[in-house]
Each structure stands twice: as structure tokens, then as C-alpha cells.
Amino acid sequence: MDTQVFTFIMIILPIYLVSLLLYLIRAFKGPTISDSVLSIDAFSFAAIAVMGILSLFFKSLVLVSIAILLSVWTYALDVFVSKYLEKKEMGE
């Protein structure tokens, strides 16, 4: 891979870090529980994108499989919290 893509990734990553930081501020501030869960959601999807880009940077396949698992866990978090808010009982 040529150096042009590397420099592009080096420019891209700090902007992603800034947006991750802003998501985290909302996650800590969030007045209700849904706000923090929503921002943690967006945070993990952005982290998945960062993992995909970093896997190009390091040329390793390990981060890709971790990204797939992280997206599924994020969905599990969503569903958990929404079930708790809706029924207060996990099995029903």
C-alpha cells in the first residue's frame, strides 16, 4: 500500500477521536438513562469504523472480527435496556 493512504489515515484518525470524545461527554452528562445508552451506541459504532480503518493501518485481520462482535454486543445493550424500561422483567 502506498504512503498516500497512510497519510490519509493519519489525518482521519484525530477527527474520529474528537467525535468519540464528544459522544463520551454526552454519555456521562445524559440526563436520562436512554440518552447515555444512545450515545454509547453511537460511540461503539464509531469505534467499529475506527477499528476497520486501523485494521488497514496495521494490516491485521484480528481487529475485523473484534469489530463484528462489538457491533452485536452493542445491539444486545440496546435490547437489554429497552426491555428493562418496557417490562421491568427480562424473561417476559
Partner: protein, 125 residues
């Protein structure tokens, strides 16, 4: 030639994704309540995560990795899971928040979901 085109398309997709992610995070911080922040979350998950992962897959396809097809396949699977999962998760969260009445439904004209629930509760009593 085709490698160069794939790399450029991938870089454009990643640049669009970075813009969307930054805009979504600013919106997440500045919007007033939960139901308005859902819009920002959609921009962040679809524009800020789905597009750059596909762009990264295209860049991997256009480069000279030893196992670039595995890169491409893994990244496309990740993108498809993100595309399926993020709207369903937001939908479940929004519905649960509305039914638990934790966040105010602030800029509203009518609220059909609340009317339906009230009707159902009236039937039970």
C-alpha cells in the same frame, strides 16, 4: 488503474464518514432532548460507521495485501451487521423510552403512540 479507482472511492467514502461522525457528535451534544438526539445517532451510525467500513473494504481490495479478499469479506459483513442492527436498536430504545415516559416528547404535533396506549389501558379497566 482499477486499484487506483477503488482506493480513491474508498477514501472519498471514509472522508464523508468522518464528516458525518463529527456532525453527529456535535448534534448529540447540542440537541435538547432524547427524541431529537435520535436523528443525530442515525447520522452517526449510518453515515459515520456504515460508509467508512465499506470504504475501508474497498481500499483493502485495491491494495496489495496477501489476503485482501478476507479483509474485504470481513469488513462487508461488519458493515451489513451495522446496517441491520443500528436502526433496530434505536427503534427498540425509542419505543421503550416513550412507553416508560422517562424523556419529554418535546417538539410534537400529535402523539399517536400515546393515544393508542391510553385506549388499550381504557379497555383493560
Amino acid at each position: 488503474m482499477i486499484d487506483l479507482i477503488l482506493t480513491i472511492i474508498g477514501e472519498i467514502l471514509i472522508a464523508v464518514g468522518v464528516f458525518c461522525s463529527l456532525v453527529a457528535s456535535i448534534g448529540m451534544l447540542r440537541f435538547p432532548n432524547f427524541f431529537v438526539r435520535l436523528h443525530a445517532a442515525t447520522v452517526g451510525s449510518m453515515g459515520g460507521s456504515f460508509l467508512p467500513i465499506i470504504g475501508a473494504g474497498l481500499i483493502a481490495l485495491g491494495s496489495d495485501f496477501p489476503d485482501k479478499w478476507m479483509f474485504f469479506g470481513g469488513l462487508i459483513v461488519a458493515a451489513i451487521i451495522v446496517m441491520l442492527v443500528s436502526p433496530a436498536g434505536s427503534h427498540a430504545l425509542a419505543r421503550a423510552t416513550h412507553r416508560a415516559r422517562v424523556a419529554p416528547v418535546e417538539p410534537k404535533v400529535t402523539d399517536h403512540l400515546k393515544e393508542d396506549e391510553d385506549e388499550k389501558e381504557g379497555e383493560k379497566d
